[in-house]
């Protein structure tokens, strides 16, 4: 039986190629839905073209079960053409993982999407990705995140979605950082997104 207090609706937002779909892949693996190495990359991108170009076009939700915690995860596209897909996903969520590539720092869509998430009233979890890369400039990226949303150093997660490093910590903290969905309206009411 599902309890609301054990439910979290989260989307992943970031600039193009900062690793959203890769992080989604890692989280799916950790939920045990699929075993590592037994699937293609970008599990949630069902179109051939999405995989071929390495981009996400459609927002795709998936329900993940971690013991008694349920996470509805929504992977979003990063490209500016599809930012309406992001706005769709944000409405359905209570929190967002803001992923920033440590090698590139903040980019234009990082700005646009995090503002959209703030406007939608979402809690934002800043996460630095690709920390295993030799080009990673973690300090600089952290400073930029602080300037953007005011997160303190120790509030910023450091992960590598590719190797899976740090993703476990992120997952443990997630339910404490984002509140469970509340009933906002009396009676039957749902939004098609």
């Amino acid at each position: 039986m599902l309890h609301n207090k054990n439910l979290r609706n989260i989307s992943i937002i970031a600039h193009v190629d900062h690793g959203k779909s890769t992080l989604a892949d890692r989280l799916i693996e950790m939920s045990g839905l699929i075993k590592p190495g037994e699937h293609v990359d970008q599990i949630l991108d069902s179109m051939d073209l999405e995989r071929e170009k390495g981009i996400t076009i459609k927002s795709q939700p998936i329900r993940l079960q971690f013991e008694d915690l349920t996470i509805n995860l929504i992977d979003t596209p990063g490209h500016v053409d599809f930012s309406y897909e992001v706005s769709r996903a944000l409405i359905a969520c209570d929190g967002a993982i803001l992923l920033v590539d440590a090698t590139q720092g903040i980019q234009a869509q990082t700005f646009a999407h995090s503002y959209a998430a703030i406007e939608a009233g979402l809690e934002i979890i800043p996460v630095l990705n690709k920390i295993d890369s030799i080009d990673a400039d973690i300090e600089n990226a952290k400073k930029q995140i602080f300037n953007l949303i005011g997160s303190k150093e120790n509030e910023i997660f450091q992960i590598s979605a590719k190797t899976g490093e740090g993703v476990e910590d992120l997952l443990v903290e997630l339910p404490h950082l984002i509140s469970p969905p509340e009933k906002k309206i009396d009676g039957v009411n749902a939004l098609i997104f």
């Binding site: 599902l2 609301n4 439910l7 609706n9 600039h15 193009v16 839905l33 699929i34 599990i43 179109m47 051939d48 073209l49 170009k53 076009i57 795709q60 939700p61 998936i62 329900r63 509805n72 929504i74 490209h79 500016v80 053409d81 599809f82 309406y84 706005s87 769709r88 944000l90 409405i91 359905a92 209570d94 720092g105 903040i106 980019q107 234009a108 869509q109 700005f111 646009a112 600089n140 400073k143 930029q144 300037n147 469970p180 969905p181 509340e182 009933k183 906002k184 309206i185 009396d186 009676g187 039957v188 009411n189 749902a190 939004l191 098609i192 997104f193």
Partner: protein, 386 residues
Amino acid sequence: MRVFGDEIKSNQKLKLVNSNYSFEPSEMGYFDLDFVPSNNLKTGEVGYIITGAKELSQIRVGDTLVSEEDESPVIVSGYKEPQPTVFSSIFPSDSDDYTKLRDSLDKYVLNDASFYYEPETSSAFGFGFRCGFLGLLHLEIVIERLEREFDLSLIVTPPSVEFKIVRNNDTEIIIRNPSEIEKYTDIKHLMEKYCEVNLLFPKEYLGSIMQLLSEKRGTQEDLNYLSTSMVKVRYKLPLLELVSGFYDTLKSISQGFASLDYEILDFEKGNLVKLDILVNGQIIDSFSSILAKENAEFVGRNRVKKLSELIPRQQFDIPIQAAVGSRIIARETIKALRKDVTAKLYGGDVTRKRKLLEKQKEGKKKMRQIGKVNVPKEAFRDFLKQ
């Protein structure tokens, strides 16, 4: 969908508020790797619902789902509707494929609601469609999917945007195709869409990027340093400039380091002209475009030059011209093929030679008056490719 109110049960009668479509769900549940049916969706859940609706228009993204007897439903605030910003015409390479293209588009739009299309006819390419896309990447993806999934070979015109015509009586008309201008004779002025672009890039590229932005008719609104190395600028830019090669140029002058985000603003009055391309005095409608007056001459010259290299020589001279209104701003001539009519002469007076050449000239002149230029489709297609 996302549940904001009470739990929804699968045996409940439901209604979509905007389309006023009532139904009993045939199935509902969660997203796993697949659809996982469930007999209820609790408060706060994200899941799916299958309605059995026959018409796509009955179910719109952004609609609110309530119980059927709910008389005063609370509407959950929506989000921005996807608006097509980039417009381009597509034609089948083989005009016999028109029906196939139409059927394919009808099918395609079912799983991409942001795509828009309407029929169009062109003198160069025959029947086709004027299509609207969310952006350049979307255009590329749609074309690739159409070609791949529906096995089509397509001709695609260069991307353009919407314009607004303000008529003398102050009524406004939005046009998505430059050739629509011809329908109106009482145009007071043209308006074009603007957008606000945000650019982030390392400070080394500041000079060249600002130069590019001003070349593209941008006006600066904001500039600040995010850190000692990163700069963020905000510019107001005509949307037309953004879709015509801005992104590629930006990436190349910044060596890939600049990133870009934009938001569409409203129409504003612009100094715009319609540039026509004429082959042998005939306007080729698919090549007409609306652009900034200051760019017209440069673009016109380029297009004429390109096209003159692609059209094969004929029996008579063909002028290729670029025109703004009735003023010709550029011209190239494709020289006629000529037989060496003086070959049989072995000497004698020069007047004998002159006579033969005069006769040939006469003939070419006559041909020109009655002749029609048969431009192969391939020439037009190659022209668009460049």
